[in-house]
């Protein structure tokens, strides 16, 4: 399968790889996907006020999954939480020229953003003592 130049670029030079301390109050963590499906994305945001000041990711998945999550971290940095919530997977598909069989990678990246924001918000509200860094609902 031929990958687009942008996918190859993100795969070779992934942006914002790494992890934040998920126990910190200003950090939101989203882990989506499952190993048996062949993709797991962990996306983390660091928030100041209502603005995402930094983002990091780690992804187990194909080149398109790595590129989608790398791109997602690039896009959400500097955005407010509300702006980041509006990012749609179709924008990722378009930017990376993903073929139909890889659309699920973009969906996963959108889900990872939303999951990280949700985690941050529930922490802020004091609702969650158990951040969903273990992949969603227990």
């Amino acid at each position: 399968m031929a990958y687009s130049d942008k996918v190859i670029d993100h795969y070779n030079n992934p942006r914002n790889v790494g992890s934040f301390d998920k126990s910190k109050l200003d950090v939101g963590t989203g882990v989506v996907g499952a190993p048996e499906c062949g993709d797991v994305m962990k996306l983390q945001i660091q928030v100041d006020g209502d603005r995402i000041v930094d983002a990091k990711f780690k992804t187990f998945g194909c080149g398109s999954a790595i590129a989608s999550s790398s791109l997602a971290t690039e896009w959400i940095k500097g955005k407010t939480l509300d702006e980041a919530m509006k990012i749609r997977n179709t924008q990722i598909v378009e930017e990376l020229s993903l073929p139909p069989v890889k659309i699920h990678c973009s969906v996963l990246a959108e889900d990872a953003i939303k999951s990280a924001i949700q985690d941050y918000k529930s922490k802020k509200a004091g609702g969650s003592s158990n951040p969903p860094a273990r992949g969603g609902t227990q």
């Binding site: 499952a34 190993p35 499906c37 062949g38 699920h104």
Partner: protein, 411 residues
């Protein structure tokens, strides 16, 4: 060293230059139709076809009259299974096969199920082997055929063909083996191994694509088939159609070379393969061998690199041409049916890579592959949230993962 390097010898092989040389005259000056009986052009082609038939028969311990030329293993499999089913339907309508067969066998069996046949799909051991006990347990009074791989195309596991063949002969059931991956790599003898039908393909053994054959036993027992392609009655009525003479000549030459070099090729590939595996296991943790280390083709290495997805690894070793058991390229998102049937978890199946070693693989190429695989696995593990969790002591099997079906993770 020329890049990219080919490590996918189970998918296909390059033509041996000696094979090409043997084929060339039959495209141009000796272009006759092997079925033309009235002139020298036809006689010459027929002579070349019969020489090839003899070489193929010799490699597998058959008689030349038992070789039926086809377009390759998929056609041979269709002819063997459908041909037997149609011919012996009145005797019984039950077939035994396994879950780790090639799709050509599985889909042919599915087709027959629609026509009212019953098929038992044996589940292999964790190492991918079907045992004689499993086969014996599945046989019924109405079983007409047992169809099993000689060597698995993904993991290279060898079935105990001789024992299963012996059982089938004692029970009066026909035995077909898809030996596409085995022929030319390990000794195959239809007499000693009690096989009634066997297929092989030119392009897996340094011969041309588009040509293969089906061995059909002529005595003890005499196997009869209903032809699946009707026409001029070529190949003793079992497969009509003008023979692909250059292809047949190439297949014959390829078989001759395999017979001549079998031990040498096996020693060469297994030495490279074993060295390759030894070095990878030394350099990396969490590497798993899929298959049977004891009963395995000499040229196959199917490895799972935990916490790294197969397709991303293939992308990371772009000058090393391999294939993966991961199904990320397919829309179904389902990994290899072979690894699944063996009980390899889907997670490890997604992390699997099949390496193949061949007659022309060099030590230098293996060095390159080892270096780049190690590098890519390490890099991708730095990127892997799973590897991070495992380093932190998290038990991944205890996690309630979200599905990644669209919308499901939105909560």
């Amino acid at each position: 060293m020329k890049l990219p390097i080919y490590f996918d010898f189970q998918a296909t092989t390059p033509l041996d230059p000696r094979v090409l040389e043997a084929m060339i005259p039959y495209f141009t000056e000796d272009f006759g139709n092997a079925a033309s009986r009235s002139h020298a052009f036809g006689w010459k082609a027929e002579e070349a076809v019969e020489t090839a038939r003899g070489r193929i028969a010799s490699l597998i311990g058959a008689s030349p009259k038992e070789i039926v030329f086809t377009s390759g293993s998929t056609e041979s499999i269709n002819l063997a299974i459908k041909g037997v089913a149609e011919m012996y339907a009145e005797k019984g309508r039950h077939i035994v096969t396994s879950q780790v067969e090639h799709k050509a066998v599985l889909d042919t069996c599915k087709h027959l199920e629609k026509l009212g046949f019953e098929v038992t799909y044996l589940k292999p051991t964790k190492k991918g082997r079907v045992t004689v006990e499993m086969v014996e347990g599945a046989l019924r009074p109405d079983t007409i055929l047992v169809a099993l791989l000689w060597a698995n195309n993904e993991v290279g596991t060898l079935n105990p063909i001789r024992e299963i063949g012996d059982l089938c002969h004692r029970k009066g059931v026909l035995f077909f083996s898809d030996a596409t991956q085995a022929v030319g790599k390990i000794p195959v003898d239809v007499e000693k191994d009690h096989v009634d039908l066997l297929c092989l393909s030119g392009h897996k053994i340094y011969g041309p694509k588009g040509v293969g054959c089906l061995y059909v036993r002529r005595k003890n027992p005499r196997v009869r088939l209903v032809a699946q392609i009707d026409g001029g009655g070529h190949e003793r009525g079992m497969r009509s159609g003008t023979l692909n003479v250059p292809g047949v000549v190439g297949l014959g030459k390829a078989c001759e070379l395999c017979q001549q070099d079998l031990a040498k090729d096996a020693a060469h590939t297994s030495a490279l393969r074993d060295d390759f595996e030894k070095r990878l296991f030394a350099a990396l943790d969490h590497v798993h061998l899929n298959g049977d280390p004891e009963h395995r083709l000499p040229n196959n290495s199917n490895l799972s690199f935990s916490y790294v997805e197969g397709e991303s690894l293939i992308m990371g070793i772009k000058d090393v041409a391999v294939s993966s058991g991961s199904a990320c390229t397919s829309a179904s998102l389902e990994p290899s049916h072979v690894l699944r049937a063996m009980g390899v978890g889907d997670e490890l199946a997604h992390s699997s890579i099949r390496f193949g070693f061949g007659r022309f693989t060099t030590k230098e190429q293996v060095d390159y592959a080892v270096e780049h695989v190690v590098q890519a696995v390490k890099r991708l593990r730095e990127l892997s949230p799973l590897y991070e969790m495992v380093q932190e002591g998290v038990d991944l099997s205890k996690i309630d993962w979200t599905s990644h079906q669209p919308g499901a993770a939105r909560g």
